[in-house]
């Protein structure tokens, strides 16, 4: 650094200048230290401790001293645990069933919003985005009433549509299955949760994709138009490829987020995971193992296995889409 050279060459600098230089050198480290300190306490240490805890058997009621080392036994036990695997399949099912439509709907929607219409762009986007900022707990409670078997408005609407003269031709086939017991029957719980999660997050993806679309220069579209391309063609050949970085980013967020779903299934099933644990996600299973069945060691092991799952899926995702996904974003 130039300073040391000048310090050697020139006489000793006044005390205030040295202090000044010091604070300038030290400032950046000082400014970023809160993050690293907090991270050390609330980020790093928990991770390390959680790894340690996963190798123990511990019932917290009996006190800290009763921790018993068991090595990898918790992990082995979980590998054989039907409920653990059920929670994994539940989580993956919901993640996929709510995640895929989120993006399949959001991309055309964002496209329509930025290319198809002139007015109301912002109000519509805001409307789609609103569910994202609301509390999952509040929403889940409302959806609980919506999904009610006899009196929920969803079933009532479906029954109306199946019977009303003007719509029966389209919806009449549903009549036998109505009213659907959304929250009480095992096969229906996951679709119900997925509908809720889809509803809550698709607007967020619309916003992301709209932002991504905005980075595509107009000249491309104009050039395509001149060449006689239809809307559909320019969508598939210009928009989608150029949108890949954003798709990559958004899907990453969906993977990481959906695999840790807790609030929505927790509230919709009243904290139980539903009949036959059909609505129990890994996060819920973790919570129950730790705080209801008091097996802290096993719960810590669950969290690590979940981390492994998320990591694997993310890496796979990176592998297939990562190169082009990360390139364009520099």
């Amino acid at each position: 650094m130039a300073q040391s050279a000048s310090a050697a060459a020139s006489p000793r600098l006044p005390w205030s200048t040295r202090l000044d230089k010091l604070q300038r050198r030290v400032a950046p480290y000082l400014f970023i230290s809160p993050f690293f300190i907090l991270f050390a306490i609330f980020g790093l240490f928990p991770i390390v401790f959680s790894m340690y805890l996963s190798l123990q058997v511990w019932n917290p009621i009996q006190g800290l001293g009763t921790m018993r080392y068991v090595g990898l036994e918790n992990y082995v036990w979980l590998m054989d645990d039907p409920w653990f695997w059920r929670s994994i399949t539940n989580t993956l099912w919901i993640a996929f069933a709510s995640g895929l439509p989120q993006h399949l709907v959001a991309i055309p929607l964002a496209f329509a919003l930025s290319r198809g219409i002139r007015r109301f762009r912002h109000p519509l986007t805001a409307a789609y985005f609103l569910p994202f900022i609301t509390s999952a707990v509040a929403i889940a409670i409302v959806f609980q009433t919506i999904f009610g078997t006899q009196f929920g408005i969803l079933n009532q609407a479906l029954m109306y549509l199946a019977n009303a003269p003007w719509s029966a031709w389209l919806f009449g086939g549903l009549a036998d299955g109505l009213p659907v017991n959304w929250l009480g029957r095992a096969p229906n719980i996951k679709p119900a949760i997925s509908i809720l999660v889809w509803w809550q997050f698709f607007g967020f993806n619309v916003v992301l994709y709209a932002a991504g679309l905005a980075t595509i220069p107009r000249d491309y579209y104009e050039a395509a138009e001149i060449d006689g391309a239809s809307v559909a063609q320019s969508f598939f050949h210009i928009t989608l490829p150029l949108l890949r970085p954003m798709i990559f980013f958004a899907v990453t967020l969906t993977i990481i987020g959906n695999l840790q779903l807790f609030d929505q299934p927790f509230i919709l099933t009243g904290g139980t995971g539903g009949t036959g644990q059909a609505g129990m996600t890994v996060a819920m299973y973790l919570y129950r193992t730790a705080f209801e069945w008091l097996e802290m060691g096993t719960a810590a092991a669950i969290s690590w296995l979940l981390f492994l799952l998320i990591g694997t899926l993310t890496l796979t995702h990176f592998y297939f889409f990562g190169r082009s996904g990360l390139e364009t974003r520099g």
Binding site: P46, V137, A214, L306
Partner: protein
Amino acid sequence: MATRVVTDTRPWRSPRAGRNPVGTFLLYLVLCALALLTLFPFYWMFVLATHSQSAIFSAPPPLWFGSNLEHNMEALRAQLPFLRNIWNSIYIALMATVTTMFFCSLGGFAFAMYDFRFKKQLFAFVITSLLIPPLLGIIPYYLIIQFLGWLDQPRALWFPGMASAFGIFLMRQYVASSMPRDLLDAARIDGASEFRIYWSVALPIIRPGLATLGMLTFIGSWNNFLGPLIVISSREKYPIPLALRTLQGQIQTEWGATLLGTALAVLPLLIIFVLASRQVIEGLVAGSVKG
């Protein structure tokens, strides 16, 4: 990215599009229908909050507001110190927002405006920490809070997240793209300390970004459920999500009161959003695109 990408990013509409009024009309119809469907649960929440239990469980259901609001309010107050719960949520969210805005802008400022040893590695560390699932640390989080004696205290909720990785990331992007380094040097020549530069020069410039971060933090804190579920145990200290869950958990759930509670829980965010939706959306966009 140091340079701004100069693109004509005005939404592009083909001149051809105007020639298909029917198609456009249908498109508007679909989009608006979807918007109405999206908003319906909110409307439903507010409508049901004004009805009695028997009205809520009737076929066909009431589609317009009822007259039971006062009664539901009383029932709500009888079960929980609900206004206290709202205050708890406000307090925690405000503390989280203010501290996050400060520490993250400070950190983001440092990463954006300085070159120092290990800067690249440290920033990479910050980014990587974003990928760690929060669930991994949930049990140790509980144990640490217990160890610190912070169980059942609001600070257990806003303190740990004060300097969040996401916030630093967002702020760094923002500072880097809105503040030229010459300003820094000019201020230094004037004799300002580094902190003064941050406080008096940088902060005013990044106000919009700060506002976005603040709003996102506020929203996130307001909606946090798992955290309070684990560390808060007394009713007077419940923030809103816990209070709502208590309402839902009763054997004889008073649905009118419960839905009124959810409506009240959602209202502040709704208001903020209606007033500042552009800000929130654009801020989020800026953070993700520039990243």
